[in-house]
């Protein structure tokens, strides 16, 4: 940076310093090209053709509730997703009802979900189906906690890519206490649970 300036102080023949300047400039240009090329080359060795998206690792998630409040979107891109094939279709759903409810009905005061995003519908005795209304879900994870504690853990949080803006730096990933928000290849997209896993202690 400095060398191309220093020599100009010496009063030299007209014509001569320009040549020297050009020489230095070309040297710097070559250096710049080389450094760009080497940085690019090195990162290319660690690159992949796919793009990265943010996703929640359901096995790491501790349902702290920060997803609901930290996402840059007003209503978080984190949504509860229901893996139906894992669900026990219980009447007493730990994800739907507040603990120690008196009547197992859809009364608002019985529901764990603060936004009434979890819907309950009767299938046949004694089974009930639970569906998530993603428009209403704010990703607080209360139902996930309940379902994981008392049930099969079929409800879990995922980032909905229809809503997510895929920020280069996910705001939630910085506050997640469990480092559960990770970058995954966009082809994969989701980290859905496949089977029942016992929660850690």
């Amino acid at each position: 940076m400095s060398e191309n300036k220093i020599d100009t102080t010496k009063p030299t023949q007209p014509g001569k310093p320009i040549k020297r300047r050009d020489f230095l400039k070309n040297g710097l240009r070559a250096a710049a090209f080389l450094s760009i090329a080497s940085i690019t080359g090195y990162s290319l060795t660690k690159s992949m053709s796919d793009d990265l998206v943010w996703q929640i690792d359901p096995n790491k998630c501790v349902q702290c509730g920060r997803c609901a409040t930290t996402c840059v979107l007003n209503i978080s891109a984190v949504k509860c997703m229901h893996i139906y094939k894992m669900c026990g279709y219980c009447d007493l759903c730990g994800g739907y009802f507040k603990p120690q409810v008196k009547n197992l009905d859809t009364a608002a005061e019985n529901q764990l979900c603060p936004t009434k995003a979890l819907k309950r519908s009767f299938v046949e005795t004694p089974y009930y189906q639970y569906d998530v209304d993603e428009e209403l879900c704010n990703g607080c994870g209360k139902c996930v906690k309940g379902c994981g504690a008392f049930g099969n853990g079929s409800l879990h949080l995922q980032i909905n890519h229809n809503v997510c803006k895929n920020c280069n730096q996910c705001a939630i990933s910085k506050v997640c206490p469990a480092d559960a928000i990770i970058r995954i290849p966009s082809k994969k997209g989701y980290l859905l649970k496949t089977g029942f896993q016992a929660p850690k202690s």
Binding site: T40, V72, G88, E124, Q169, L192
Partner: protein, 429 residues
């Protein structure tokens, strides 16, 4: 007693879980033939789009360069920047952008397990190469952040150099900090503190909205405040631009010294001619020599002073932050009851392991602050050197490093008007 209960119950629970690793409630077999619905997920934006973005970036850079160097058309530059705002800002919602890609590239250089998408590398490299060839045509308006600030700058005010010179040191500090935090895997601060992204997402934390609005309001009067006094990518681009093969000029042919462009630049990036007849006494040379001798001292001081900050800086890293918390807990024999602490205790990771990891991160910060600080000291020394160097200049010329090729000075040049009249092909806006 409570502890014993806790241990017992957790032991019992573990046993139960070990036994019942199968589903607690088996999936029912419906008599009514009810078929459980499938979980619906919407796939992320297709990969084809990411590659289209790179192609659009390349085309936008090419068109912008053509407008800047060949057509010398402010109108063309203006409409290209509107296109950038619409495509990169509104349609793509800003991520990933070249400015933020610094973080990704740095992380890929320093973290073994981070795999960087090729498209992000392209976003990082393309503007650098274009700038090395043609000057900062990326800044002119392909960068949607620059374009937005260019749009709002309707009442440009010239800043005195005693304000703008010290402020222009901030991007260097910001870049150093961003590199350090990205390399250690702590955070991408460039992305997090991007003031304009919130407007494109139509959603942002309140503080960032205020910051963005403040920069835009300031930008009405002060040309491109983010580009000049914050943008870390601008530092890299200004280096490239200083040695670029081609660069835009104020006048299409020869400067006639009319001084009409004197105050036309909204970002004060026009270098005025220097009186060549000034006698050079020994003073300047002596100062230059003493500054060169002092340069190693600046480098050392920069490194030393920055390294004093490594501890507080390292607490930005989540591992160090957690380790500090756990350390506090063990010293005071209390639990902080924070989510981090609870999660850590539940994870079963050894405290010694955490401390080792945190120590490793702190070593990176110690080395990083020394290195970054030394570089800052070097840049400081060089900028002092430059003030002692005789500048040879006879014409009004754009400052290679600072000029963003926005083309606002073109219309002030009477030669440009003349050329435009002679050949109607050139758009002399």
């Amino acid at each position: 007693m409570a502890k014993l209960k806790y241990i017992l119950s957790s032991f019992l629970l573990t046993v139960i879980y070990q036994l019942g690793n199968a589903q607690r409630f088996p999936a029912p077999e419906f008599e009514s033939g009810h078929i459980p619905p499938k979980t619906q997920t919407i796939a992320p934006r297709g990969l084809g789009w990411e590659y289209l973005d790179v192609i659009v970036l390349f085309l936008a850079l090419s068109i912008m360069t053509w407008f800047v160097l060949k057509k010398r058309s402010r109108k063309g530059i203006f409409w290209t920047s509107i296109f950038s705002i619409v495509y990169f800002g509104i349609i793509r919602v800003g991520c990933v952008c070249s400015v933020g890609s610094i973080g990704n590239v740095t992380l890929s250089l320093f973290q073994a397990d981070y795999v960087i998408p090729v498209t992000v590398i392209a976003f990082f490299v393309l503007p650098l190469i274009f700038t090395l060839l043609f000057g900062r045509t990326f800044c002119a308006g392909v960068c949607f952040m620059g374009a937005v600030q260019d749009l709002v700058n309707i009442k440009p005010v010239s800043l005195p150099s005693w304000i703008s010179k010290p402020l222009s040191a901030i991007p260097y500090i910001y870049l150093t900090l961003a590199l350090l935090l990205a390399a250690s895997g702590a955070d991408f601060i460039i992305c997090r503190y991007d003031p304009f992204i919130g407007f494109f997402r139509m959603n942002a934390p309140f503080g960032m909205l205020v910051f963005g609005a403040a920069i835009l309001i300031l930008g009405i009067f002060v040309g491109r405040p983010y580009c000049r006094f914050l943008c870390p990518y601008g530092v890299l681009l200004s280096w490239m631009s200083k040695i670029s093969f081609w660069h835009t000029t104020i006048t299409p042919t020869a400067c006639i010294q009319c001084k009409l462009c004197d105050s036309s630049c909204p970002i004060d990036a026009i270098d005025k001619p220097v009186n060549m007849n000034t006698e050079t006494d020994g003073k300047g040379r002596n100062r230059l020599i003493s500054l060169i001798i002092l340069l190693p001292l600046f480098i050392f001081l920069g490194g030393f002073l920055s390294s004093l900050l490594y501890k507080p800086l390292s607490t930005i890293h989540p591992t160090v932050k957690l380790a500090e918390e756990i350390k506090w807990e063990t010293e005071n024999n209390k639990k902080t009851e924070s989510e981090e602490s609870k999660t850590f205790h539940a994870s079963g990771i050894q405290i010694s392991q955490l401390f080792t990891d945190a120590g490793h991160v702190q070593t990176i910060f110690y080395a990083g602050t020394w290195l970054g600080g030394s570089l800052l000291g070097l840049f400081f020394g060089i900028s002092l050197l430059r003030t002692s160097v005789v500048r040879r200049q006879t014409d009004y010329e754009p400052n290679r490093g600072n000029c963003v090729s926005c083309g606002k000075c073109y219309k002030y040049c009477p030669v440009q008007k003349q050329v435009a009249e002679v050949s109607p092909k050139t758009d002399g806006v």
